[in-house]
Symmetry: C2
Subunit: 344 residues, 2 copies
C-alpha cells in the first residue's frame, strides 16, 4: 500500500507538495501538479484517512445516533444523512442507541475519539444526558428530530405542536368528537408537544381539552395493535384514532380491520411521518408528513457552518409540516358505537 512518501519520491517532490496537490490547499505549479498526479495514478495511491484525520482533527466522518434503527423513520434519517454526508466528502457512522442511554454515551465517546466532523443526534429520551459530553469539546453537533423545549444546542426539529394541531383539526372538521390519541413515550418531548397541539385544536373547537383522551405507547407497530384492544374496551364510542407515528397507526389499522371494523367508515385513523409504507397499505394512511430529507439536509449543513458547537450556539430550526389526506379518514358514523367485533 503506497503512502504519500512513495508518491513524493516518484514525483521527485516533497510529501508536503503531494499533500498540497491532493487537498488543493495552496496553489501548486501546473507542472509539479501533473507530475504528482501521474505518480498518484501510477502507484494507485489512496490517501489514508486516519493519518490525515489524526493530524488535521477532521476525520471526514459524520456520526448519527438514532434510538431505534429498526424504525423506518430513523432508517430514513440514516438514508438521507448518508446522502448529505457524502456531499461533504464524509462517511457516515451510524449508531443504534437502542433506547439505552449508556449505549448512547459510549457511541458518542467513540465518535469523539474518531475526530468526527460532526454529530447528528436523536436522543433516546429527555432523560438522556449524553449531550453534556459535547458541551466542551469543539465537535459540532446538531440535535435532530428529538429536540427539547429549551435545547442547549443547535437543533433541527419538526413543528410538533402544529403536527398535533393539523391531525386533530382534520378530524374535528370531519365531525369527529370522540378522538383518541396513541402517543409515543411521554418522556420524549415531541410526544408531549404533539399532544399539546391536539389539545389546542380541541380548545379551538370549544371542546374540553383536558379530557383529551390518550394512550401512552412506544412508537412500535405492536403497540398500535395493543392500543386498539384498550380503546375498544374503555372507549367504544371512539370514532377516530390519531397515532403519533405511522408505525403505530398501521398497527391500529390492522387491529381494527382484523375485528371487522372498517376504516374509515367506522373509525378514522391518522398517523405522523409519512413513511413510504403509509401509501402501501389499504386504505392509504392519512398522515402528517415529516420532511426527513429536508431535515437531514439542514442538519448536515449546520454541522459544516462551523458554529454548531457547544451549548452557546442554540440555533433552532423548526420545520413546518403538512397534512397528507389519503383514505383512512372520513366523516364519523352518524349513529352510535363501533359495531361489535366481527371475527375475520
Amino acid at each position: 500500500m503506497p503512502s504519500m512518501k512513495d508518491v513524493a519520491r516518484l514525483a521527485g517532490v516533497s510529501v508536503a507538495t503531494v499533500s498540497r496537490v491532493i487537498n488543493k490547499t495552496v496553489p501548486v505549479e501546473e507542472q509539479t501538479r501533473t507530475r504528482v498526479e501521474e505518480a498518484i495514478t501510477r502507484l494507485g495511491y489512496r490517501p489514508n484517512l486516519l493519518g490525515s484525520g489524526l493530524r488535521s482533527r477532521r476525520g471526514r466522518l459524520i456520526g448519527l445516533a438514532v434510538p431505534d434503527i429498526a424504525n423506518p423513520s430513523f432508517a430514513n434519517f440514516v438514508r438521507y444523512t448518508e446522502e448529505f454526508a457524502r456531499r461533504h466528502k464524509c462517511n457516515l457512522i451510524v449508531g443504534n442507541t437502542a433506547d439505552d442511554p449508556a449505549a448512547e454515551r459510549r457511541f458518542i465517546d467513540q465518535l469523539l475519539g474518531r475526530n468526527v466532523d460532526g454529530i447528528l443526534f436523536s436522543r433516546v429520551s429527555d432523560e438522556s444526558e449524553s449531550l453534556r459530553m459535547l458541551d466542551d469539546v469543539g465537535t459540532p453537533f446538531v440535535v435532530i428530530d428529538r429536540g427539547m423545549q429549551d435545547e442547549r444546542a443547535a437543533s433541527v426539529v419538526m413543528d410538533n405542536e402544529r403536527t398535533g394541531h393539523l391531525a386533530a383539526r382534520h378530524l374535528l372538521s370531519l365531525g369527529h368528537r370522540e378522538i383518541v390519541c396513541v402517543t409515543g413515550p411521554l418522556n420524549v418531548a415531541l410526544c408531549r408537544q404533539r399532544l399539546a397541539g391536539l389539545r389546542a385544536a380541541l380548545r379551538e373547537s370549544e371542546l374540553d381539552a383536558s379530557e383529551a383522551c390518550f394512550v401512552e405507547g412506544n412508537f412500535k407497530y405492536g403497540f398500535g395493535e395493543e392500543a386498539v384492544e384498550h380503546i375498544l374496551t374503555h372507549r367504544p364510542e371512539t370514532t377516530a384514532i390519531w397515532a403519533q407515528n405511522d408505525l403505530m397507526a398501521i398497527g391500529v389499522m390492522n387491529a381494527l380491520q382484523r375485528r371487522g371494523i372498517r376504516i374509515p367508515e367506522d373509525v378514522s385513523v391518522v398517523g405522523v411521518d409519512d413513511i413510504e409504507f403509509a401509501t402501501m397499505i389499504r386504505p392509504q394512511l392519512t398522515t402528517v408528513q415529516q420532511p426527513f430529507r429536508e431535515m437531514c439536509r439542514i442538519a448536515v449543513e449546520m454541522l459544516f457552518e462551523g458554529n454548531a458547537t457547544g451549548a452557546d450556539f442554540r440555533r433552532r430550526v423548526v420545520i413546518s409540516t403538512q397534512l397528507v389526506i389519503r383514505e383512512s379518514t372520513s366523516h364519523p358514523r352518524v349513529d352510535g358505537e363501533i359495531p361489535h367485533s366481527v371475527a375475520r
Copy 2:
C-alpha cells in the same frame, strides 16, 4: 482533550503501560493498573481511535456497502451489521452505492483508507468490478446477499434456488398452473438463481419449465404495481404471482386490490424476504424468509476469523430458507380468468 501522555504523566508510568492497561494486551501489575485507571477517570481520558487505528492498522471499523439503502431488506442488513459490529467493538460505516458502480468503488476506497477491520459487500450487480480492488490488500471482506455463482471471495448468501423452488412448489401444490414471476434485475445473479429454482419446480411437476413466465423488475415497490398492469394485459389467465422480493409483492398486491381483484381468492401472491411489513398488510404476505440477522452474524464473524481475505479464501456459506405461509396464497379459482377489473 487529554491524551495518553497526560494519563501516563499523572499515573507516573510510561505511555506504553497506559496502552497495555487499556488494551489488556499483556498483564500489568495490579497496583500500576489501578493507578492508571484512576488517572484515566480523573482526566476523563478518551482513547483516540485514529491514533491507534493508524498504528495498529485496525480502525475498529466495519464497512457495509449496500446497493439501495432505502430498500427495507438492506435496512435490515444495516441494522444487524451494526449490532454485530458493536459486539466486536467496531463502529459501522454504511455506504449507499445507489446502484452506481462508481460510487461503489469510491466507497471501498474510502473504507480502505480508514484501515477498516472488514468490509461487508452487497454488489450493485454482477458487472460490479469493485471486488477486484480487494484482492491484494489484506483487508478481510465478505460478500453478503448478492453473491455470484463462482465467487472469488468469501460469501454469505441465502439459498436462492431453494427459495425459488419453495415459492413455486407451494403455488403448484395449491393447484396453480399459471404462475408469473416478477424478478429483480436479471444482471443480479440471485435473481437468475431464484428463477432457476422456479423452473426446477415446474419441471418436477412435469410442466414446461421453458415457458416459465416472468417480468424483469427492479426490486422496487413501484415496479410491483407496474407489473400487474403488464400481467393483466398479457396473461389474464394468471392465477398466481411470485415476486422476488416483498416490496414488489406488496406493490403487486396493491395494484391487484385496487382493481378489485381479490387476494388470494382470485390471485395468489408470494414474496421473498419477510420484511416486517409483510405481516402489516392485509392479507398478510406468504413469503420465503431471508435470515437477515443470521446472515449478518455469520458474515461479521467470518470477517474476524482472519482468513476472509483476498481471492484465495472462498468459503461460501449458503443459508437455507423457509417458506412462511400466511394469507396471500390459496387454491386457484376453478373457473376461468381474473374477473374484469372493477373500479375500487
